[in-house]
């Protein structure tokens, strides 16, 4: 791919006939070689957006370019592998036969079928009928089908859905492995830990709107130090002298300092020397969960 932007949307909008606004003016961009996490609660519009990107549904307004083509264009589709929602295969055919059907449609050599079965570790169970597969095996077969074309862009919609913890860990490892090199992976999920572990950049969607798009590090914010001390006003004054007032925010009876955790020893020494009692001093990092709830307006634990 010549262009470094693999997926680009401008004001992408989908309003269903019932009047439901599923996706609202989404502007997103996914760069070549990155693993992009598309994060949002259930019903936020992730799957609808991905369906538009592969041409399964038409946008009400806005544009999208995927692998250099309009969504659904055969020249674009031949470079895209996708698993949208649940894997769709013929229950009366074996896993291998299902992949052979997909390989025919995709114009891929049949030899590739066994290669991708090995990648997802389904080789020994590929002779069994798809209808008898467990959820995990179905998801693996879906990923195998998405890999058949050796695609430049892999779009995976909630690939760990319905998997047990071990299956989820294996799927995460698999996605990490296949996201190596120049291949771009666009992964939707509502599982924050999953996105944090796998993705380079994330887009957060809520109620159909893309509310944030950045690297995971940017999203989590700069590293810092949390200080809990008494009297807190005096501690604030000393720390302001050390780091500047702009570097300090006060929250829940503690001071959050924008500074490297390596400064902790010096902070402690200064505060103690001033006769201030320090009850807590630790590196501070916001979790993706906190950021997510803040961005989407969802309540934690609800």
């Amino acid at each position: 791919m010549e262009n470094t932007t693999v997926v680009e949307t401008h004001s992408l909008t989908k309003r269903y006939g019932s009047g439901v606004l599923a996706v609202d003016s989404v502007d997103m961009s996914v760069q070549r070689g990155e693993v992009y996490g598309f994060l949002g609660p259930n019903g936020a519009g992730k799957t609808t957006t991905l369906r538009m990107l592969v041409g399964l549904i038409r946008p009400t307004s806005g544009t999208a370019t995927v692998a250099g083509q309009a969504p659904g264009h055969p020249n674009g589709l031949k470079r895209i592998g996708s698993l949208i929602e649940s894997p769709g295969f013929y229950p009366y055919l074996s896993g291998r036969e299902n992949l052979r059907v997909v390989a025919d449609l995709a114009g891929v050599n049949q030899r590739r079928v066994d290669e991708v079965l090995d990648v997802v570790e389904l080789g020994t169970r590929a002779h069994r009928k798809f209808g008898t597969y467990s959820t995990g095996m179905k998801q693996r077969l879906g990923v195998a089908a998405a890999l058949l074309k050796d695609p430049d862009l892999l779009i995976l919609d909630e690939p760990t859905n319905g998997l047990d913890p071990q299956g989820m860990a294996e799927m995460r490892k698999l996605i990490k492995d296949i996201g190596q090199g120049d291949r771009t992976v666009l992964l939707s999920s509502h599982l924050l830990g999953e996105v944090e572990q796998i993705c380079d950049r994330v887009g957060v969607i809520s109620n159909g709107k893309l509310v944030k798009q950045s690297t995971v590090q940017e999203l989590l914010g700069e590293e810092g130090v949390l200080v809990r001390a008494q009297p807190i006003d005096q501690a604030n004054e000393i720390l302001s002298r050390m780091f500047g007032a702009d570097a300090i925010t006060r929250q829940d009876g503690a001071l959050h300092l924008k500074t490297r955790p390596a400064q902790s020893m010096e902070i402690n020494r200064q505060l103690v020397a001033a006769g201030i009692g320090v009850s807590e001093l630790r590196p501070f990092e916001r979790s993706l969960e906190e950021v997510f709830f803040q961005l989407t307006g969802e309540k934690q634990g609800s």
Binding site: L77, S86, G88, L93, D104, L105
Partner: protein, 268 residues
Amino acid sequence: MIATIRAEWRKSRFRPAFLIGTGLLGALTVLAYGVNWYLAHHPGSAERPVSILSLYPDQFVATVLGAGFPLGAAMAIVVGAIYAGSEFGWGTLKTMFTQRPGRLTVWAGRMTVFAAWMLIMTLVLFAIGAASSVVVATFESHVITWPAAIDVAKGIGAIWLIFTVNGAIGMALGVLIKQPAAALGVGLVYLLSVEIIAVRFVDALNNGAYKWIGNLFVNQNASALLQSFTPARNASAISAEQAVIVLAAYGIGLVVIAAGLLRLRDVT
């Protein structure tokens, strides 16, 4: 296009709906021969006794045509509705539409394979009919003579056309309703009652002034086409040529409408 046909054939050759539909049609043909053979020897008080002559090989085309319609047409509707409708429930339509070929290419490949399956069903029907007629002739010690090859070919063509058009009704309904059960139900109700009632109603209007409208219904033309193989009993106002044209127009029209729906509608 070739790749699409190959994919369609790969997934359809072991498809239970086709295998069971074809097998059932063959079994019913054997049953029809068996029952008619019995009735030929035990006519009882039947108004129209079965002639043993109609069960010999030289008459097998007409007998097979009788088994092909409306029974085979109903089977074709069922198979067509399942073939098209189940893709929505399985989610396989999205898998197909996200590979390389465009939607219309995929649909064209599907129709090609479906038409091929209807031909297989037709050939099985004729082969079993021919074999059954040989069995009857052998047991009756009747000399085996076959109808002219052109008559066999015409019969195969007529049944294939009727199966394909009725299958297209099932497929179009499957695409429209997006699921097989309701599609085959609606298709069968149309074949077995709606069209019959509608034609009777139209024919009765204004002393038959609108009979020509009734003559445009799909299975009126199917009946007329089959009646043309038994000219002595042919009472239809529809010629064989018109029947072929009307049936072909229905087939093409249904395929185009279903293609339009598939192309324009969202796959959710």
